[in-house]
């Protein structure tokens, strides 16, 4: 017997409270029919006896205490999945909005997913050649990794993401198996269009699943978008054996939606008003990347987040950095000087890089070169801060060499064209060429055998 519950007891932000509900289960989805015939969906987030709290995805506008009839669906939030989902455009909660009709599900999956057993994971080792010198050489992207881009408003993170998608797809023998899941959370329509257009131009649009929650779409839907996207990605990767690159932008909007929802629920806030469980919540998204034993596919994530006020210690980039396997940090002053991509290499890092490079993967000297570039560029920063006090003229000859090296490094190594695709050999050789402008004794991170081979100063 199906029961309709008429009316609600309380409305607060996007939450409604109902009383006298029997047989409800935690996290169950409910259908809410308004008097005007529209149907909204909600999720049970708290139960106390017969009193339940429901989060309404589309918002509570126009809901009154009396005008609703609510029905329990008996299952948690699920996503319909089939191989035809590739190439479709969905809204933030996974419903098609491209006018091509519903998806006929081969299978339905709970959007919350289940944690991958750590013993079933394959430790990711295959590197993805992005054709971007800074990333390939200094923070190598590995298949199955989660590597976010820490950016700020107005910086070129979108271009960088597009360039990665365009150039990464061609590498490796599995290029036919490649697809992209793109999740937009609270981004402007223009940005979503930019991505769509760029995918089209680079000819991958037919291999993209887009989930769009624009900035004026309901925030509750926004909290579902990454989960829907990753459910699709896991299906494609672990059941259809595809290599999936998931781009999620903008995680800051997601976290803000979560904060809004949490405060309307009356929860005790943690840092900067974000809920105390922000870490666990972000982890439940980011951890859904990786490779599994016995499956050929992989889920690689490139979340993009804009650091509020460019502050890397803000809770969102901070907690993200603790979960993800490194980060690519963009820098406003580099962008101001006209460098693209404006990657600030010192705080950037790839944790999985050390096992995915070197002999058999990229080239034997890769690790040593990367270490030396980092160390030398750190000295450039020291020399510059000294120069800003005592003037460049007063610097010691070695420090002057560093200043020179710093300019070359930013101009030639960091800076590269939006359409320029450098091979790993080109990037590594360029690195050695630049290091060769420094005295050999300054290269203290590299042993002599490698220096003999590559140092040309």
């Amino acid at each position: 017997m199906i029961i309709d519950y008429v009316g609600v007891k309380e409305i607060n932000g996007s939450l409604i409270v109902m009383d006298g509900v029997k047989g409800v289960s935690n996290e169950e989805i409910v259908d809410i029919r308004l008097d005007n015939g529209t149907i909204r969906q909600g999720r049970v987030v708290q139960i106390e006896g017969e009193k339940i709290v429901v989060q309404v995805f589309e918002g509570t506008r126009r809901i009154s205490l009396k005008n609703t009839r609510t029905r329990l669906t008996g299952h948690p939030m699920e996503m319909p999945l089939s191989p035809e989902i590739i190439g479709r455009v969905l809204n933030g909660s996974g419903k098609p909005i491209d006018g091509l009709g519903d998806i006929f599900p081969v299978k339905r999956a709970n959007i919350n997913g289940t944690p991958i057993n750590p013993v079933s994971r394959i430790y990711p080792k295959n590197y993805i050649n992005t054709g971007i010198s800074t990333i390939d050489t200094l923070m190598t992207l590995i298949r199955g990794q989660k590597l976010p881009i820490f950016s700020g408003s107005g910086m070129k993170h979108n271009d960088l993401a597009v360039q990665i998608v365009r150039q990464a797809k061609i590498s490796g023998a599995d290029s036919t198996n490649f697809c992209v899941v793109f999740a937009a959370m609270g981004v402007q329509k223009d940005v979503a269009d930019y991505f769509k257009r760029s995918f089209e131009e680079s000819g991958v649009l037919s291999r993209v699943v887009m989930l769009l929650n624009l900035s004026n779409d309901p925030i509750i839907e926004r909290t579902l978008t990454p989960r829907c996207a990753l459910t699709v990605a896991e299906y494609l990767a672990f059941e259809l054996d595809m290599h999936v690159l998931v781009i999620m932008t903008d995680m800051t909007s997601y976290a803000e939606a979560l904060r809004e929802f949490s405060s309307s629920k009356g929860e005790i806030p943690g840092r900067k008003g974000y809920p105390g469980y922000l870490y666990s919540d972000l982890a439940s998204i980011y951890e859904r990347a990786g490779m599994i034993k016995g499956k050929n596919g992989s889920v690689t994530q490139i979340p993009i987040l804009t650091m509020p006020n460019d502050d890397i210690t803000h809770p969102i980039p901070d907690l993200t950095g603790y979960i993800t396997e490194g980060q690519i940090v963009l820098d406003r002053s580099l962008q101001g000087q006209g460098f693209y991509p404006p990657v600030n290499v010192l705080p950037s890092l790839s944790r999985l890089m050390k096992d995915g490079i070197g002999e058999g993967y990229t080239r034997a000297d890769h690790q040593a070169l990367a270490n030396q570039l980092f160390a030398s560029y750190a000295k450039v920063i020291d020399a510059r801060s000294l120069a800003s006090v005592i003037g460049e003229e007063e610097l010691s000859p070695t420090d002057k060499k560093y200043i020179e090296f710093g300019k070359l490094f930013e101009n030639r190594f960091v800076n590269q064209g939006f359409n320029e695709n450098r091979s790993i050999e080109q990037s590594l050789d360029l690195g050695w060429e630049l290091l060769s402008t420094l005295p050999r004794t300054e290269l203290d991170r590299v042993d002599d055998a490698i220096l003999d081979k590559y140092y040309k100063g």
């Binding site: 935690n26 708290q46 013993v119 430790y123 105390g276 951890e287 980092f374 010691s396």
Partner: protein, 585 residues
Amino acid sequence: MENNNVIYGINGPVVTVKQADCFEMMEMVHVGKQKLVGEVIGITDDLTTIQVYEETTGLKPGDPVTGTGAPMNVLLGPGIIDNIFDGIERPLKAIEEQAGAFINRGAAVSSLDDQRLWNVTLKVKVGDKVCGGQIYATLPETPIIEHRLMVHPDLCGEIVKVMPDGEYRIFDTVAVLRDDEGSEHNLTLCQQWPIRTARPVKERLAPTVPLITGQRVIDTLFPIAKGGTAAIPGGFGTGKTMTQHQLAKWCDADIIIYVGCGERGNEMSQVLEEFSELIDPKSQRPMTDRTVLIANTSNMPVAAREASIYTGITLGEYYRDMGYHVAMMADSTSRWAEALREISGRLEEMPAEEGFPAYLPSRLAEFYERGGRADVLSGGEGSVTLIGAVSPQGSDFSEPVTQNTKRFTRCFWALDKSLAYSRHYPAINWMDSYSEYFNDLDPWFRQNLGDDFVEYRNRISALLQEESSLMEIVKLIGADVLPDDQKLVIETAKAIRVGFLQQNAFHADDTFVPLEKQKAMMKTILHLHTKAKEIVAKEIPLSKIINLGLFDKLNKMKYDIPNSKLEMFDEYIKEIDEKLAAFSK
């Protein structure tokens, strides 16, 4: 048992039961039809509050809740080593076999393999009086670890029956003990122990023996004792996990317990892979033969993350009681503290600093106090060394978890962002870090490595201090204006930083460095410094000495001198003397 206890309310991982009167505080319960594991964390006359260790999606009001009558327990027995568990001691390999690559809820698998046969040797005979902690049988758990079965600490009495030596499963009885009241207890190969209770010891001992880690900055500047406690705070990307891995791989403990608490799944798979490939230099066996992994990745349920730390330390104490030296790495205790905060928030408790519950310091203290070196009940000596990583929010060491951890640990290895950015690893900042074990360990170092080791260490540390204050000036006016003797300090300190403190974990010889080599390296650097100082005093310009390339040579001696050829240091000293002799004429 008649059961009327049913779920009343659900909020995230917290479940409430109305009008239940049979539950005890901290009792382990099974929740719902899938029998999810939970623990009672609050009781009022009206409501009982339970935290559930698994995802609560799909639970309904009215679902049954059954008590187990005992607190959260772990099963202790052979089969722990070389295994990987989740936060509440469920074996992940067995769960994989049962459920596949994704972890299902309510997985009912025994913590330890109950079918495997162990080759048991009995150590008692009928008529023996035995007491808690005494060893009644042994068995080889791995080729290098002998598992010693001990009488449960609460039992005491006379052995009335003994089975012959042979092969037994963990729940088989191998002996029977009659206590003073006349009731009989079957001694099997395993026992239960509540995770939140410390196991008893005979007597706590002073921390006078160092835990040798082979990491120069730790062993010489900030040593830790066996049974000591250390905190490794550092922002993301500063190398907490790398440092923990290095310690786990190379420290001279008998058994390693590695707790991945709320960390990355790929990191755990890396540990699994690396540890099984890595051969322990002492025993020539894979690392996994002496390692236990506890993996509760950040997306696994938060309540089990809270428990994982206690599970880890309980396993550690169990092996300590057998007379082993155990080192436990917890990565990261901040995630554990955050789990406390998260659950506390769900319970609507009054928050203290930054939303953490007011009982955070006492929980941290309880945990770190369970470390220590002790005379154990089985006779002999054992220890549990605790090394906890801390992930401060926004790399700010003034946040509550770092500050409170600092109060209860005696080693503080502060990781530094700017060192990490310039890829100076281990990025342990020598100015902010400290070890309170210096004095306790001093006699050991003097006895085993000679008085000069301590002297070298003090000189190195003084030079680094001096450099740090000189750098303040250099930052303002540049190094050129300093007098030569101060320039020499900066040059020597650079050799210490680059040649000595910085250590390459991926270099075959540099990843682990024996104490003798550490001493020889210090000696060589200081020798050059002393000689150069004499020459500078004669007003010969320092640049002439630098041009000899001696400092550069010392920067690379860590790679150039293999750990097996320490006599090469004599050649280095000879070379220094010869090259510098030219100036004395």
